[in-house]
Symmetry: D2
Subunit: 161 residues, 4 copies
């Protein structure tokens, strides 16, 4: 079993810039997170340009799809912003790749107190190894298929469409 992690930005990877005084993106937290998780299976990390998912356009989603297509691994975790996670999941779902692709993210940035990022990442790394081929969204211990999910922005949770 080998795992590919594709990082695309989103809340998970936000970083506080002390000069600017705001949250943006830095070098990415995944290299540290993977070490911290002490992952004992082979793992490939691919960091795409980091974007807030509200700033993602179709070309950005196609780039993620291309990475999934190119990947040798059959188990793929995509770290993604929550606001348009569903839209990217639709692009990946339509591609019908013979792989298990799990999109996850965080409601609180990894580097902020009380973050759900590490939990969600572990959750996604588990089901990416065990679910049948397909595209899934996995957040806060709940699994959704790409074609039956929406984000409830008022409550900040994902639910069935």
């Amino acid at each position: 079993m080998t795992l590919r992690i594709i990082a695309t930005g989103g809340t998970f990877d936000k970083h506080y810039d002390e000069i600017e005084g705001k949250l943006g993106f830095g070098h990415g937290h995944l290299p540290h997170v993977i070490k911290r998780a002490r992952i004992t299976i082979p793992v490939q990390l691919e960091q795409l340009p980091f974007l807030d998912s509200l700033d993602m356009h179709d070309a950005d989603r196609q780039r993620i799809a291309a990475s999934c297509l190119r990947a040798d691994e059959k188990s793929i975790v995509v770290i993604h912003g929550t606001d348009t996670m569903k839209e990217t999941a639709e692009v990946l779902g339509a591609a019908q790749l013979p792989k298990t692709i799990v999109l996850t993210g965080a409601m609180i940035p990894y580097e902020v107190k009380n973050s759900d990022a590490l939990f969600n990442f572990g959750f996604a790394c588990g089901i990416a190894q065990t679910l049948p081929h397909g595209v899934y969204i996995a957040m806060n211990a709940r699994i959704f298929t790409w074609d039956d999910v929406r984000k409830n922005r008022v409550e900040g949770v994902f639910e069935k469409a």
Copy 2:
């Protein structure tokens, strides 16, 4: 999908007692961890007496098995010390319950910097929902069946027996 979490102590739940000046057990981290993970499926937490897994005797393992047997849930995560996780997994495996039981734990206590606890917990919560009935050990992104696993104490990792 409903999840049962059974906490039994182990490194995951160790707590630093500032008066004693050492690591022991407190009220348990799981209530906080479950909130932090923002788990959006129904979840039942059961906290058994907290033990260092080196201090577990057969009666303790039978108590865990009894909890698994009694549980209404088909998906169970057992938080356990790593040193005798395999022995408890064998007791649970021999019971052949029609449930998916995943044992997990941590190399570093939840409350200590750089802990793998939250990752492992998320990982276990994922595969407890997706694997066929059986008993598994899940640590650091790797899944083992209860009858083919051992802890390599020199390197601090689980591997196939």
Copy 3:
């Protein structure tokens, strides 16, 4: 020795709002911070309206001055945003109160990884008890008098004017 802590917001007290997806202000971190610091001298916490210091107007600075004036304590720590800390220090300095008033803050919010907030708070709590009456800015282990300091925004440090 009794200590008064006046919280006015600033980077120190920023809180990530997971529904809005941005940093704002919550209930304030100081009640937790004071417990965490296990402060063993009498301490009074006063939380004024939380503001980003760029949003502070003269009325806000006068409110801080009024709090300092009214306080029974001779040692006062003011938690403040760094961008206009100097301007508030000038207002407090001009008031010439017979008290030791120390303004401090943080380059990284308390709840963000690698924050300097707890260090600066401890630093300020120390010198507020030991310096002669006057108004000081205390950041990152360096002490400034209110009339000889400026923030170097390019490097994110305070220096002598």
Copy 4:
């Protein structure tokens, strides 16, 4: 103003060893802590052999005194275990050096959740710059002179003798 930090171990610097499964000492947290605090004055770190303060003998205290004597800096912070902090303070006090020496430590290790280490370190760095020459114990926002202090082990706090 230049600061010397002398690290001698103690709870502050305890590190969880994931192979041994217990708290011991690692490479020391101070290099990271000093960076995190973004200290903007010249600072010299000296790491002596790390000891639990219950394991300190007279030779160990003499070594700390020798470091204080040799130091060019007039402001010295000594990171020390709390259990025999008073005994080391007495050795340093008897030496009557023309310097301000502040002993501090932590009730909870730096790397454990809710630690007071960073606060105490900031507190000590402040008063080491402002108090007259002498030897002090500084814990949890309270300052003691070396000859009028004791640790109340039942409550885990320092108090006047």
